[in-house]
Amino acid sequence: MTLQVLNSPFNEEQVKQLNVLLPTLNDYQKIWLTGYLSIAPAAGVAVLEEPAASIEEEVKSIATEPQSATILYGSQTGNAQALAEKLGAKLAEAGVDVTVASMSAFKTNQLKKLTNLFIVTSTHGEGTPPDNAIQFHEFLYGKRAPKLEHLQFSVLALGDSSYEFFCKTGADFDEQLEKLGAQRIAPRVDCDLDYDALAAQWFEDVKKAIVANDAQAALSQVNTATKEVGGSEYSKKNPFYAEVLEKINLNGRGSNKVTYHLELSLEGSGLTYAPGDSIGILPENDEQLVGILIEALGFQQTEVVTVEQQSLTLAEALQKKLEITVLSKPLLQKIQNYTVNPDFAALVQDNYKWKDYVYGRDLLDVVQNYGPFSWNAQQFVELLRKIPARLYSIASSQAANEDEAHLTIGKVSYETDGRGRQGVCSGQIAERIEIGQKLPIYIHSNPNFKLPQDDATAIIMIGAGTGIAPFRSFIEERAAREAEGKSWLFFGDQHFVTDYLYQTDWQGWIKDGALTNLTTAFSRDGDQKIYVQHRLQEHAKELYEWIEQGAIIYVCGDEKAMAADVDKMIHAIVAEQGGKSAEQAAEYVSSLKQQQRYQRDVY
């Protein structure tokens, strides 16, 4: 059932948000939310009176003025959002009056009224904020930013240490809030891909800083009995081993690319997903590369090391647990402690040199180039971080494939210094996984990339290469639902003949009307390179009409190679077709974002 203003006590905006959220909840989440809301009055909002009345009174008597906190997240793929919500739940349990919101949904004129602000944000590749954090970030750095001496804050930053601007957006917020006069009540925590433990620690820090007494904390114990059960039996920590049912290279002969279509069985897992969600794969390193690395290190494959309190052989640790294919500045700095090679010191110190060096190289290169090293096997493994999971947008709809999830995985391979290298996960899929084998996976939901609830809403989907994956899920879902809304797919790749991913699927959906328009851009077929943004331009008038009529825009694919140009083009189209100045166009586009009518899943 869909909530409406008329059949519920909520206003229009609330209804909209609830309708986005509610369908995405699984059973566990619904049960949890019911419990959560029923205890919410304890934190000061008098909605319900009945439950836990005695405890409520007790709390009131001790903490007469409950703390309030606002948690804002800047999230691209949903990780930051999930953590923000987790913190929100935690603080609410502790009796704090909590508001959790996306930065883009937060009205900046409320800043002056806040007492506690917690920020959870990820960082984009080049150190830029995620889409829904851009404006808030700009605001804090702009002239209109208010003095915030009254405000207490802390920041949780998410990032990937293999990028140069690791956790930069979080650091930006941390620094700027301080400049504006706000008080840091817990130090910023920068998390790498494996963020669970550090985030949990930050939660504790934050909670301790604002929840003054144990009574409130004690209260939380009462109502959190079901907390750690887990929404589904399977999670990132407890992945489901999904059988590979089908594995097809989608690129025709002669292509420069190799893109695998993978069909995974979810049978018996109880896992559910919605279009726009991703699947996380926990990959393993190439056994052969591990062997060569151990040999280069001069260690034994069978040496026993301890990783996360677990004893296992070095070979096993390097193949299954630890990342050996990505170099980062922190890693190089750690390695420096174990080598006296003067060239290595020079490398790490020279900002230009190390950046150049880490591009396309891995641990084996360092070991081969900069020895001798003084480490032993245990010291060596302690330098390394866990192999991060790889997220892939799901390319199927569960409405059409109940027990399956399809993925579209581009094989990464290149050569550096005469040695061929492959992406950890894409290489594993391409070279080492066969039909019938199993892959450890979990569902990663992405609330920021979702089909509209209303099937009559038009959708515009823009993607290049493997960015087409979620759109196959979208259209398959809309076809299964017999959605009436118009749809328009813009797809780009290199060559029509070999790289038209899922071509016959699209042709079929065009034929039966599930897909209204399909516009393709093949960059290497003609004398001139044609990309999706050029096609958008060609259809500017019609596109603007669609947008004006309420269409939702989705962009999926490579940020640098596509999404940035597409974003520019969307601004240009809005300006040109709407007769707007650049500034007005920017406002128009940002309001689209706020209304969740411009959603991106870019990487």
């Binding site: 279509h261 016959t504 699927d505």
Partner: protein, 572 residues
Amino acid sequence: MTEKIVLPSQPGKPSDVERIKSESNYLRGTLEETMQNPLSSGIPDDDNRLMKFHGSYLQDDRDLRNERQKQKLEPAYQFMARVRTPGGAATPAQWLVMDEMGRKYGNGSLKLTTRQAFQVHGILKWNMKKYMQEIHEALLDCIAACGDVNRNVMCNVNPNQSQLHEEVYTWSVKLSEHLLPKTQAYHELWLDGEKVYDGQEKEVEPMYGALYLPRKFKIGIAIPPSNDIDVFSQDIGFIAIVENNKLIGFNVAVGGGMGMTHGDTATYPQLGRLVGYIPKERLLETAEKILTIQRDYGNRSVRKNARFKYTIDARGLDWFKEELHQRLGWELEETRKYSFNRTGDEFGWIKGEDGKWHFTLFIQNGRVRDFEDYQLMTGLREIAKVHTGLFRLTPNQNLLIADVAPQKKRVIDALLKKYKITDGAHYSALRRNSIACVSLPTCGLAMAEAERYLPTLITKIDSILEEFGLLETEIGIRMSGCPNGCSRAAMGEIGFIGKGPGKYNLYLGGDFTGQRLNKIYRENIGEEEILAILRPIFERYAKEREEQEHFGDFVIRQGYVEAVTDGRYFHS
């Protein structure tokens, strides 16, 4: 032009192609739109039917068909575009353009066809218009190179009777022009010609009418003693009659044709039947009237029975002659004497009567490309850059570098040597007399390999021939991937017609001079059986043949098969 003849309507529902033609507005259909549709590199079937009239049609790489289906990719669609070159003549400038087309838009090769035309395979839809425009710049076109119209007019490539040949060749060009469709559709679709709305009020196709012919129509002119064009395989075959070294007229043979359908004995290859002689001035008129008889009487209901041969066989030659005489208003004369000695080409340098030189080079199955150890395409390109005469594509898929001035011969010769371009002398006489159609992977009709397989089969047969000392004995061998018969396999002394992957019907008893059909000897056999069956026949042929006795004559004399001189008895 022809007077209108009102005929009783034919029995049977018109075939679907008749509907497509009638709705096409003189061959336009929806091609303008579908050729631009970016969602698929293919076009709908109806438009593809019309595309044939523009000398092209949609194919796909059948090697990749299953693989791509699994990959969720549509078939590897591509167009074949056949260029109309009457008598197979092309200037060096035209050769260079075709060479460029093959490399730029095609699959890196050119196919010289059994009807003396150029074929480029592998053209993507988006490049078709550019292709058409670029060949147009070189005064070439694809009009009527395919479709239910008169196809490329064939003509003997006689290199030594220079003057006579020139005159006959000129007639073939005139015939081709005279029988071309008149619709402006080609110019509109491909050359951005002004749109002409061919309405009813105007007679767009005074000769063909809006439905064109019931089926394809083929004309060729032979100059005895060479029957290189296989004159009896044509719907109309003209045989040049020469008196005192001057062309005076033509014998006329009608109703030849190769196509048949496996398992349907109502379909068969047929030889053209001689119906008389005409003075040369009456060539165009005669051809036109014969064509209109087929237009009016040909079967428009069942396409596999629609060729001219069935029109004639259903009514008899007397009927045909009477109908023709009535339409012409005069009667054909008695057939004149002629004599053929071969259908194959003679290779190497020959000096013509006018003192110019001609080099016939061997091109295996007409495929011009750069092979790993044989830079044929490059070599011919270099020759075309300096050549001042003509190129002539032979009906046997070979190439004549024609009209080389004596002072130029050394330059050409040097290039031939540099690129080791061969006259085929180091090959067996069997290979020099072989023809294969394109077949797999591009031909949609193919049931078995032809062009890609015949060369290896010949290598294996060669070792048998060598054993029996037959390597220099000329034997005509032809292979078609389907019974449609583009290689004229039903006339080969040894003929193979594809039945399924690796399986062929083996036919024996064709005539070295092209005046007899062959007959089935074994059905549905693979390579092992082919070699096992041929071996004892060759052995006997080597021992028991009479002087100058050709292989096709020998197998009939020895009773391996019966002689077939009328296609109606091909299956019996």
